[in-house]
Amino acid sequence: MSNAEKPKEWPLWEIFIRGQHGASHRHVGSLHAPDAEMAVNNARDVYTRRNEGVSIWVVKASDITASAPGDKGPLFEPSNDKVYRHPTFFDIPDEIGHM
């Protein structure tokens, strides 16, 4: 790559942290880093300073394919009136507690 086309900024990475007690990784924010390994290092310094995590995932932001905000209607609205998809017709015994 010639200098002219070389991007000046490091690529953007999306950071996911598994909390101390949480079961799944949660998106916590993003940062810049030259590569994946350094992104993990930077995430450790930026997002786990107060003992927030036990595991870090980093994903290049450009590798994420997102749904378009304009598609909100066709994508999500059809499920609005399909109440039978929600398990609201079962009685949950009290002993189960919060589900």
Partner: protein, 253 residues
């Protein structure tokens, strides 16, 4: 030496002063590092080192038994009484120089602390156990950056090589051994200098070859810091660091 110096006191000062002076130097990047992520990482490293300073200087005060606290030792000693190695007091320079200084220190600090975990002195082993995890991360980070900048662009390689050339002469002092260390090593309180040096050489050699850097051969190795004979740089660091306590004795938050 005229009056009997407790080797453990000397050693605790050396460990503590290394952390204190490097921590103070590194902290100057806070708000000034080239990118936000590095700014936070560098400040974290500085804070880790100041935390370790507190443990070592507290131990030094206890060993000496003259009632001096870690703060007293940090803020009320003159340069001549400081025992840090010359490497850590070298100026920050550009960011490459700061990273190279950090790497050259971390690559020694980590195996040293690993060895100290097995110390026959329970207090030393306890401090080492706490510090070694931080040092492992510092080393991982500085290694990653030295490799990426060394084996990066032409300009970054040039700067990292210049930093290595400038700082290499201070490396010999890290692994050198004097009466204090020989006595402590014989008692099993600290690892033998040769053991730490072997790990250091092998590790640094591997990193430099991966980073496309060359350590100068037959460089004249400078020493003196461990005995309190420092370079000009330390005076400036202490002047800034100690100003408040000197100007307003016993001032507290």
């Amino acid at each position: 030496m005229a009056d009997a110096v407790d080797p453990l006191f000397e050693f605790a000062l050396r460990m503590g002063d290394n952390c204190l002076i490097l921590g103070q130097n590194v902290s100057a990047w806070c708000g000034h590092a080239p990118v936000l992520e590095e700014d936070i990482a560098m400040a974290n490293t500085g804070l880790d080192l100041i935390g370790q300073t507190k443990m070592w200087l507290t131990l030094a005060g206890e060993v000496r038994g003259d009632g001096r606290s870690a703060d007293d030792l940090a803020f009320l000693r003159d340069a001549r009484a400081y025992r840090n190695c010359l490497l850590v007091e070298q100026p920050n320079g550009d960011y490459g120089q700061t990273l190279m200084r950090q790497f050259l220190f971390d690559a020694w600090h980590h195996p040293m602390l690993e060895g100290l975990q097995a110390s026959s002195n329970a207090r030393v082993a306890e401090i080492a156990e706490k510090a070694v995890k931080e040092a492992a991360y510092h080393l991982e980070r500085s290694t990653d950056l030295v490799i990426r900048l060394g084996d990066g662009a032409l300009e970054s390689n040039r700067r990292m090589q210049a930093a290595l050339d400038a700082l290499w002469p201070f490396v010999g002092e890290l692994t050198s051994e004097d009466d204090v260390e020989i006595q402590l090593a014989a008692a099993g309180s600290i690892p033998a200098a040769a053991e730490v040096e072997a790990v250091y050489r092998q590790y640094a050699g591997r990193v430099f070859s991966e980073a496309m850097l060359r350590a100068p051969e037959d460089a004249f190795m400078r020493t003196g810091g461990k005995d309190g004979r420092h370079t000009e740089a330390l005076g400036y660091i202490l002047a800034e660091m100690q100003f408040l306590q000197r100007a307003y004795p016993n001032a507290t938050w």
